[in-house]
Symmetry: C2
Subunit: 220 residues, 2 copies
Amino acid sequence: MARIAGSSGPKTEEAIRRAGLQLLYTHGYAAMSLRQLAGAVGIQQGSLYNYFRNKQEFLFELIRSHMRDLHAALDAALLPEGNGVARLTRFVEFHVAYHIERPQEVFICYSELRSLEPENFSAIVAMRRDYEDKLIEILEFGRATGEFRLADTRMAAYAILAMLSGICTWYRPGGRLSKDEVRETFLGMVLSLVSGVGMEESLPEPPRLAEVSRSGARRR
Amino acid sequence: MARIAGSSGPKTEEAIRRAGLQLLYTHGYAAMSLRQLAGAVGIQQGSLYNYFRNKQEFLFELIRSHMRDLHAALDAALLPEGNGVARLTRFVEFHVAYHIERPQEVFICYSELRSLEPENFSAIVAMRRDYEDKLIEILEFGRATGEFRLADTRMAAYAILAMLSGICTWYRPGGRLSKDEVRETFLGMVLSLVSGVGMEESLPEPPRLAEVSRSGARRR
């Protein structure tokens, strides 16, 4: 997994990051040791301290740099104009493309949040909230223009982010579906979700069980 | 967290399960020891072997019993008749109500899948797939009746399960939202999602950025 470190600092740093990701993914933070990490990179354990002070700082920097890169990439991808559908489309396409390439980071940013010390935890949660807020802003915009119909834009953002990030748990390159198919299918589902057709007061025929006749289902 | 074990087997077994859940949630499988577990329950480590052979069997049984109970509860909750919307409504209401009470189990069933040995992993994945298939069956039914419009019912099932199970990562009892509000809001979003309004060919005005005028947005 890890590249054998060359003599230069940035190369070693990248090798440590990759080896650490793999170890965290396989064993989890509490069980991973810096001795293992040094061994995986092929350096002395003492050399690790050129890059971070301890295991907690390593985990924090790993998650923080992931979040920082994610924010920068999102800001570069987002549309500064266009209607709500266009903006949301860009967000969804970005989020799927970015995360589908980084399933280990996605897993660790979720499963090892619990392993962060309080101050570090708060910092990451704040960065994550900023990311959520960028989506919420798009949802609010689309609601203001009348394109989207949502009971609660924060819950909608959580729902959208969970369904999109969840792709990482089942998508396998070379499987039944191409990345493009997955991205387009999920985009369609997100656009349906924000349409608000499922909101009770907007349904032409409210789905009340007592009134439902099995043979009464219509074909579109 | 753990109850102090009484003299009876089932009580002790339940105390072990609860203490184990908490330890897995806090430290993860690889870092958790049976010595810790026995200490948390207040019994000798040797007594644990009355209940399971080793740590792997403990994890497997914990996840397996969660999946088994989930299946039984779902089967009791599902409607044997009614249209697609009614069936899907029942599924969503069940899934949210069941999982919102069990955030630790949800977290462990996801994050510790990687810690299962191959045979155990396969068994759990098969149980999970059976659960997904029950939702897919509902989606296929609603597609056949013309109520739902979905490009791919398996991807739709993954999307729905991810957004619903994701509630466990942010919902806190006593917070801004009640369980009922969360359940109803997510139900509305799921019903919108399956409506397929976001599918390109069904959009009244295809969302093409070049044609979009910011002032042209309609209010519904």
